[in-house]
Symmetry: C2
Subunit: 105 residues, 2 copies
Amino acid sequence: MSAQNICPRFEKATELLGKRWVALIVYDLMSGPRRFGEIDADLANLSGKMLAERLKELETEGIVKRDVYPETPVRIEYSLTEKGKALEPILGEITKWSSEWIELN
Amino acid sequence: MSAQNICPRFEKATELLGKRWVALIVYDLMSGPRRFGEIDADLANLSGKMLAERLKELETEGIVKRDVYPETPVRIEYSLTEKGKALEPILGEITKWSSEWIELN
DNA sequence: ATTATTTATTACTTTTTGTAAGTAAGTATA
DNA sequence: TATACTTACTTACAAAAAGTAATAAATAAT
């Protein structure tokens, strides 16, 4: 009989953060701006295709900013916006939880 | 040249929490034990198939506990373990972030 | 035995993700 | 001039995950 309504903002947030690779990409960008190839190298199992797709989505959501530097060869830097940086406490709590509860085999 | 290694515990945690529906199911269970049908009703777009699958996975991960009460009809209660309850600060930060940064159309 | 209720499971379709090769733009090198 | 190099993507196709709807299993009251 009881119906627990879930806050639509929370739901939207989990749709965003719950997409595969998103948390790891944001985590990677927390330490500062990074290039496509660097992120790709940091996240071993992430393919260029998915990285491109996720970066585009994150840009659309206003979480990531894309800057082009017409150098040789072209340098494209991805960085977090204010909205993206504001995710830090979430990642911090995930780090805490994982260090306490996740054991590696 | 620089390679940002991502903590394997963090990575494992995001694999878990980043799976579709997981955050919402855990959020729903935060308010106390719930039956299959109740969770299903709370999460409008979640199918019974996926709920069954996710609950099984969460049980395997030690986040959710399943209790059978042989009543009429049978009552099966899902609840959070200590490990599951420990996710609360993460959900709390997601709630905070979403209330500040997510706008509804 | 039949029925009711809740908790799943199965068969099938659609969507998402993975993999690997290929393209585009701009330089430098032969 | 041509080729090869670097970075940042795209594309085509295969595999895996998720969505949908019908069906089954479990239990006990009638």
